[in-house]
Point group: C2
């Protein structure tokens, strides 16, 4: 059901030197399902991350933020249980998993980053994770992507080669998430690794910059998860970033992967049948453009109109008017792909509804509003609101 999102071709997912992947079936929520991923890093790997801004951030998020200050040796990720809203006991259980994995790979517990995703407010069955550690088997990036899926229907993984001055580096990343998606500084579990050698300070800047232009530009339902994390790893087993050009090359590849992953989350959004780009142009500031874009992308009325391929475009105008921006409505132009719908705040006299229907019946289209009051712009990617969104979320725990 995902919109224009074929499953990844494993042959196109390049291994990353310095990264070893292992998956297991720990039976956390359902039996016979890959639900545990361990990412082992060679010594010396640099790791940077951004995390959810939700005040009820999960126990593993609290620990991962803390452990990130140490030389990280492994990440451990489980699905089926978010370990959020679990208080001190949740922190204890997450730490016990770090301790067990640390023991197994000869590292300190504080060198392990834990990640969890799944149901909120139930205690983590840490003993199941720990019992499954000996059963971990080597995996490739596709299997790693599969092991972190929850309501996702398609695994998300992308990979690029980058030519640096010292040789060829690779960037490979995975992500999961289909609902509770409106990331704020990060998204629901995304991991990207490169074998390039990058200074930690530069990696930290890069994780923020690329998150801002990718995961922080998407929304499925406007709900920010308690467990969002995006981690960028540079193992340093490949060529070093040794020039400004190298840095630009690498950052471009990382940005491309983050945007592909972020868009993949929306394409596979719960119940999604449409992938919609909302572009706001000529605003006073990027922040104001983002505010308007999110007002459109979050409106249930706009999203149900997308689902119905119904050019009930007044709903988009109403959403723009609700964004809390003091815009001059008489200057606003609105386009659906190439079709001008509104000019100077009112229906364009030449607008034909049949043209809008044609655009909206496509699985992908762009809603573009031009505010004509400045030079800034912003883009947000979103999906429609369908029967299946309600069905999936009404039946999530059954």
């Amino acid at each position: 059901m995902a919109v224009n999102l074929p499953p990844p071709d494993p042959a196109q997912l390049h291994p990353v030197r310095g990264v070893e992947l292992g998956v297991a079936m720990a039976g956390i929520r359902k039996p016979d399902r890959k639900d545990l991923l361990v990412v082992r890093l060679a010594p010396g790997a640099a790791v940077a991350g951004v995390f959810t801004q939700n005040r009820f951030c999960a126990a593993p998020v609290t620990l991962a933020k803390k452990h990130l200050k140490n030389p990280v040796r492994a990440l451990i990720v489980n699905t089926g249980n978010a370990n959020a809203g679990t208080g001190k006991e949740g922190l204890k259980r997450a730490f016990s998993v770090c301790r067990a994995l640390g023991k197994a790979i000869d590292a300190k517990p504080s060198q392990i980053l834990p990640f969890s995703t799944g149901v909120i407010m139930e205690q983590l069955p840490a003993e199941k994770l720990i019992a499954a550690l000996p059963a971990l088997r080597d995996a490739d990036w596709l299997e790693a992507a599969e092991a972190i899926m929850t309501t996702d229907t398609v695994p998300k993984a992308f990979s690029r080669r980058v030519r640096l001055s010292g040789g060829e580096a690779v960037v490979t990343g995975i992500a999961k998430g289909a609902g509770m998606i409106r990331p704020d500084m990060a998204t629901l579990l995304a991991f990207i690794a490169t074998d390039a050698k990058v200074l930690p300070a530069i990696l930290h800047r890069m994780v923020k910059a690329t998150a801002a232009a990718s995961f922080n530009c998407i929304t499925v339902d406007g709900d920010t998860s308690t467990n969002d994390c995006f981690v960028l790893i540079a193992t340093g087993k490949g060529p070093a970033v040794s020039s400004r050009k190298d840095l630009l090359q690498l950052e471009r590849a990382v940005l491309e992967i983050t945007q592909l992953l972020a868009q993949a989350l929306v394409r596979d959004g719960e119940g999604a049948t449409k992938f919609v780009t909302v572009r706001i142009e000529r605003g006073r500031s990027a922040a104001e453009c983002r505010r308007v874009a999110y007002a459109v992308a979050h409106s249930p009325l706009v999203k149900t109109a997308f689902f119905a391929s119904d050019p009930n475009l007044g709903r988009i105008l109403a959403a723009i008017g609700n964004a809390g921006v003091k815009l001059e409505t008489e200057r606003v132009d609105l386009y659906l792909d190439g079709v001008c719908v509104v000019r100077k705040g009112g229906r364009d006299p030449s607008y034909l509804e049949s043209e809008a229907v044609t655009a909206m019946k496509k699985p992908e289209f762009t809603v573009r509003a031009v505010l004509n009051r400045g030079k800034a712009a912003a883009t947000v990617w979103t999906c429609d609101l369908s029967f299946d969104y309600v069905k999936i979320n009404a039946e999530y725990r059954t």
Copy 2:
């Protein structure tokens, strides 16, 4: 399908001296349907109103705000077309309706308040409204409530008698609205009239105060309409408000009507199967409590869990954490009716899910979060998100 909302009993809707009601079938969008209401006021009536904060406010809203400065002689309300996003032509058409009605009742166009509700961004068929004026027939408050319905399934009208020092006054009000409901200073078309004699300045204060405690405390889908208006009329044909006690009595009756109407909008929210009170207590300020309450009431994940009677209460915690309030999560308690679900930020050890299921299966229940960081509180009324919400809005124009 409305939640605990029987149709009004016409015998309980008291006529208001100084108000004459007329309805007609103007065929604006569909034939054979009451879609036009005229409310004639005796000379000397005081009128106050609050209007949508949507920047794309409709042409009739712009005119009504302007005409409110004059001695108002009539209100004219049509359904089927919102006359919003219609630019200068929309203003012209709305004014032509005021002119025609003014001529018919011997008043200036600027003494008429126009109101429209229905599809956005289509020009108002003013000629149909004008042609229907001679066909207006006398109506009671129930028929008036019926004439302003769109996706409403039940007409909304309430009435109270108030004993003032100079005699008995009545307060009767109607409202419409089921979707695009998250009023901001007012709601989708509500009209309340009293025959009490009230100074305009006092009426103006009263309309703001009662809107703040009623229409501004509800949400169906978080979308603020382009056409929201709440108008309070005091014809002065009954007893005067001549003491502080009179004022309190009257305001209490008006507040009761506004709250009943506001709750009726939610009970009849598009696709609603549950009526949910979200109460946030012990916050630092009412504003912060409202922010948290709306974060819960707007979350599609929370609303689908309400629909499913699924105590997936972690979703409520996640929504509270997303409200943009820097609350101390370890102090938060959460209750579902009488059931304590979360204590000090984590699952209450004595919490039994079966008790939460029992509470949520009822058509009405309360979600109550105690922030334990101050003395303020706020209440928001909302409904669930069901298949029918998607169905109604995907098929709205077909």
